[in-house]
Symmetry: D2
């Protein structure tokens, strides 16, 4: 059995320069660790993370809200146009063994909340959201290391 580990990266569709840099590093580290990156498939944090993963030879799943695969950013290797609208946020939390949040607005908060509800480890870098249960870290390296460690401990 060659089951791959799926780690979600959530964050805003418009990233700050710092956020994009962090997200790209997160993506790269995930790919180097052999994990598959799951995200919403659009721009900002999602795009930066996918770019990092793909440049390190990884696969990236983009769970798009709309029905058109062409809406995915150029670094999504597996574009899944769900057509489910915002319900795809729940899907991201549901299919990921752990979540890493980078920056993020209301959409990201919904993913964090569903992730915590589902018992997923949620690691955050630079998050404005203070939600009990989130694990705040400072660097991309810490984020990936912690997410992988907690994901593997899950039953």
């Amino acid at each position: 059995m060659a089951r791959r580990l799926l780690i979600g990266v959530v964050g805003a569709g418009q990233a700050s320069e710092k956020g994009a840099r962090l997200a790209e590093k997160v993506g790269r580290r995930l790919a180097e660790a052999g994990a598959v990156l799951v995200c919403g498939g659009l721009g900002g944090v999602m795009e930066a993370a996918c770019r990092g993963a793909v440049r390190a030879g990884g696969e990236t799943i983009g769970l798009l809200p709309g029905p058109d695969p062409a809406a995915a950013n150029d670094h999504v290797t597996l574009a899944l146009p769900t057509g489910l609208g915002h319900a795809r946020n729940v899907l991201i939390a549901q299919v990921s063994a752990a979540l890493i949040a980078v920056d993020g607005e209301y959409g990201t908060l919904s993913e964090i909340a569903i992730g915590l509800k589902l018992g997923r480890p949620v690691v955050a870098i630079g998050s404005r959201w203070q939600v009990p249960g989130i694990r705040p870290v400072e660097t991309a390296e810490e984020a990936v290391e912690l997410a992988l460690r907690l994901a593997e401990k899950r039953p």
Copy 2:
């Protein structure tokens, strides 16, 4: 055209005594105002709100996570077993013209976040979640009055 106004009431499946009392009043006021109550259809805040609405002659929609209508509380008049799991949280925000949050845990936070993302007015009583954009109020009467007023202003 006899389109009914749909107002969502979100909150935990286990309510404190005070939360249940507030939720029941919210439900009653919504029914008295002619609005249809939308909720997750289960216990706690959802059940108390439905009880209040039904006792005042109102209709209550329960968007259940599972596939079985029998899981709805006894005061749901329109039981919709979505089978969508936690994605039904998004559905509640999506179909409601405004949301009223009473207490609430992670699931409620996800509904608040999606509601704000979608531009829905979100009124909260006794919420532990400090999210910019939420409108905090003290009483059930204020909550319903504000939710109805904001819902009607929407385009």
Copy 3:
């Protein structure tokens, strides 16, 4: 407990004159029997059925594919803009105690198939789809009578 019986009416968004007449009668009969009509909320068969139900004083639930309640036909009293796209077809089958199909194209076929998969009684008038398990009838009266009878026998 005042749980209402939900019966789904499925059919094409563009109805033949005969199809619309049949659908309107189905809607009226459902309302007269006290059932709540569930449909996709758009035009054609859905609109005709809702018109029949509303004129007889009934409630009509429209599970819309998009996020905008204004897309519902004028005879939907409870407009639920799911934002789920075609996944709302599954929702219609899932929440209905029985389905009545009038005419219908591929979308209707998907609802029939999911209905049968879920063990829902599926009654059809004028359906072009020959699927084992469907109950074909000739008139709106028969359709509603059979759907109600089979729905009530369900556990």
Copy 4:
């Protein structure tokens, strides 16, 4: 941009010996062509197709109805536990550039119908469902060749 082509394979959770043999060949051919196999992730046709794909070095996406990745068959490399119940059938059609149906019951019929509704090419081997628009073929080789050719012609 290294976007992968996603092809859905749909069929019953319990396969005949012949169906399983066909599905395994379909999976192998898809992997040999560099396509990623999308399916419901469970047994029968889904499992046989995944086995064929994985043995040829391919990736396989399993869109599971439930919330548990462990429900996936052993040959799913990317297990996505959607938690969406039967709505995951719509997801399979939505994310696939073309569908190949092998045998199949009501669930498969729903996927075929949604696929046709969405304008996806639907190729069928040994299908009991006579739906206008389906492309019947005799062999796994023909099925994959036709699905890939039609998928690539899509805008």
